[in-house]
């Protein structure tokens, strides 16, 4: 069963050109809007007003800020690696723009007299393409951090890339379940497969993992450790100014839109009308109406980003990485195995769903029992004191009772009359 992508790659050159220009325009305008929206929403959450002077509701504030930013003095530090320093923001911004080429905005429509899908292009590996371009985008940040010739930038760049790579693993694993259910990696096919039921409803664990990973992937609060002001000044873009900084800024906001669009496409039915509106009104999924649903869903995710930023404090870096590697990725792996098993069994059709549930119940009980037995056995295991110099090497002796395992012992506070309850 090959992917049916026959409607792509048939467009006239001017249609392709117009679509590309439209995507560029949409992304730039969306960025300007999102900055304004973020400031307004966060302001409301903090009982302020936010930008409200320039244009209606202060909508033109970001435009004015952008122009001012572009006209500022462009400083290249003396210790910078000139070529790479200029190249880094360009890589970052380009990668951010390219990703949107495979995002489906809507169904096949009449586009200035041409029948064409509202999507620049599609390929059998479109979602993998998004991941690939995202990993190229990380280069912009790493190189920007390195080429600035500053310690803050270097540390920020390293933090940022380590974080993005770690959370890209969790993100990729969360997508596997969607591939299994859609039977395809092309974005248009995945949207088509969600005609009746969104994958966000069937594959809730994947959806949750993806949503956590997408916040980590875009370096947004509460995972904005690369830009932790108290520790790293501005992170990887500490030394950047003027238009180069603007490019990084643009890339960050476009990436936010990209992961939101990907979440919409993969989990919330893409451009399909929400709440089964199309059952009541068939026209909801035809023509240009889907654009409304699509951007509405993107805005929902962007609002989620802003909400998180307005509510949560920043995580500590080691806790954040431990969460990614020790919680998210193992959970994602177990979930993939479960989905693959259920999918294989139900596709074969050899097993009744009731038996499947009974099997899962027995397995769960079995693992629960194992969990307790394993704990008991380990507690009884007495470690003999290690030899002072095993193998004749002059290594320091182990503490009595063997190496220390796990975290520190739970803390017990001595109650003292000098300590009052109020001192912090």
């Amino acid at each position: 069963m090959a992917d049916d992508l026959s409607m792509f790659g048939q467009d006239a050159w001017w249609v392709i050109g117009l679509k590309a220009v439209f995507i560029f325009l949409i992304l730039v305008l969306l960025t300007l809007f999102n900055i304004w929206w973020e400031r307004r929403v966060v302001a409301r959450m903090q009982h302020r007003i936010g930008p409200n002077v320039h244009g209606p509701f202060g909508l033109l504030q970001s435009l004015a800020d952008g122009v001012k930013l572009a006209l500022k003095e462009d400083i290249v530090p003396k210790a910078a690696d000139k070529v790479v320093f200029v190249l880094a923001p360009v890589i970052s911004a380009t990668a951010a723009f390219v990703t949107f080429a495979v995002i489906p905005f809507g169904p096949v429509v009449n586009f200035f007299g041409q029948e064409t899908p509202l999507q620049l292009t599609d390929m059998p590996v479109a979602v993998l393409f998004v991941l690939a371009i995202a990993s190229v985008g990380i280069y912009g940040i790493v190189l920007g951090g390195w080429s600035s010739g500053s310690t803050y930038s270097l540390l920020g760049g390293l933090r940022s890339s380590a974080q993005m790579i770690s959370y890209e693993v969790a993100m990729g694993l969360a997508l596997v379940a969607v591939f299994l259910y859609a039977g395809s990696m092309s974005t248009s096919e995945i949207v088509a497969a969600q005609d009746d039921l969104w994958f966000g409803l069937i594959l809730v664990p994947s959806f949750v993992i993806y949503m956590i990973a997408m916040v980590g992937e875009t370096n947004r609060a509460p995972f904005d450790l690369p830009e932790a002001e108290g520790e790293l000044v501005g992170g990887f873009h500490t030394e950047y100014s003027s238009l180069k900084f603007a490019l990084f800024f643009l890339a960050e906001y476009i990436n936010m839109a990209t992961v939101s669009a990907l979440a919409t496409t993969l989990f919330l039915g893409g451009w399909h009308a929400p709440f089964w509106i199309d059952h009541a009104w068939a026209g909801a999924n035809e023509g240009y109406w889907p654009l409304l649903w699509f951007f509405g869903k993107i805005m929902f995710f962007i609002f989620l980003f802003i909400w998180l930023r307005g509510s949560l404090p920043r995580l500590r870096y080691d806790q954040f990485m431990a969460f990614g590697w020790k919680r998210l990725i193992p959970i994602a792996l177990v979930w993939i195995v479960a989905v693959a098993t259920i999918r294989a069994i139900s596709l074969d059709g050899g097993l009744d769903r009731r038996y499947l549930m009974i099997g899962i119940g027995i397995l769960a009980v079995f693992f629960l029992v194992l969990f307790f037995i394993g704990d008991r056995a380990e507690a009884e295991d007495t470690t003999e004191p290690a030899a002072a110099t095993p193998g004749g090497f002059p290594v320091p002796p182990m503490p009595t009772g063997g190496p220390v395992r796990g975290a520190a012992q739970p803390l017990t506070f001595r109650t003292s009359s000098t300590v009052t309850g109020g001192d912090a």
């Binding site: 210790a79 790493v142 390195w146 390293l158 220390v404 520190a408």
Partner: protein, 275 residues
């Protein structure tokens, strides 16, 4: 064919650049150019899965690991041209020439059939066809490779593993330790003072001033002290009489009288802490 004629010169130049650039990071970047060009060639040759995987695995993961190591080596680290092993350069040249000769002779012997493309292989879809042969004909090789990779990963973890001698300190235990130090040794409980507090400048090399006017040692980095680039507070106070004279001379003149005072200040020496 167009893709080939555009990408082939780029790849060749980038590959030669890897050999000739001085900075290791630049070489890694040029390697990325070669890898991405290769990926685009795969895409042009009807192998989209290989295209995506090439970028994700090689450019996104492996080369990024290289970059991490290179960046931590040092910002300005360039290749040294000093020969560390005698005769190494000559031996390398001879070896390279021999390898080239073997390759030219070897490749000259084979004859390639006409290219048939992947149309037939991709008939059922590129990914589906790939999955079909990977999980039927080559399933053993696939499993063995994954076992090898898992073994390597576990091996790396075992090699990097270290038995803990002391319990890992948590945020609570560190806080308790701080309070204990304060109770027993009188160590200051709060954070260290920031540089430049109550001093003339707030640069990192200017110590903060205590209420009695003496500089606080805790406010500056030990590294700067060891380098000897810390500025002393009295050295900044030598023009106090000048400023006092200006302020006293024109007490109501406002900003205009202060302007000469700010120009006499020396700009903070950034003292070699760029890196």
């Amino acid at each position: 064919m167009i893709a080939f004629w555009i990408l082939a010169p780029i790849m060749t130049i980038a590959a030669l650049g890897i050999l000739f650039v001085r900075k290791a990071v630049h070489a890694a970047l040029l390697l990325a150019v070669v890898m991405i060009s290769l990926a685009i060639l795969y895409a042009a040759l009807d192998a989209p899965f290989l295209f995506a995987v090439q970028i994700i695995v090689y450019t996104g993961a492996i080369l990024m690991l290289f970059l991490f190591v290179l960046m931590l080596v040092g910002v300005d680290a360039s290749d040294s041209v000093v020969e560390t092993i005698r005769g190494q350069r000559v031996a390398a040249m001879i070896g390279g020439l021999l390898l080239g000769l073997v390759l030219v002779i070897g490749l000259g012997q084979i004859s390639l059939g006409t290219a048939v493309g992947l149309d037939e292989a991709n008939d059922a879809g590129n990914i589906q066809a790939l999955a079909n042969i990977l999980f039927s004909h080559y399933v053993f090789g696939f499993e063995v490779t994954s076992a090898l990779l898992i073994t390597a990963a576990v091996g790396a973890m075992v090699l990097a593993h270290r038995e803990r001698l002391t319990p890992k300190s948590t945020q609570t235990s560190l806080a308790a330790q701080r309070v204990r130090d304060y109770a027993e040794k009188g160590t200051h409980l709060g954070p260290l003072p920031t540089p430049g507090v109550y001093a003339r400048h707030n640069a990192v090399d200017t110590p903060a001033l205590l209420p009695d006017g003496t500089p606080s040692e805790a406010s500056i980095s030990r590294v700067l002290v060891a380098r000897g680039t810390v500025r002393s507070a009295p050295a900044l106070a030598d023009d106090i009489t000048v400023i006092e004279g200006q302020i006293g001379g024109a007490p109501h003149a406002g900003r205009q009288s202060e302007a000469p005072a700010t120009t006499t200040e020396t700009t903070p020496a950034t003292g070699g802490d760029h890196q």
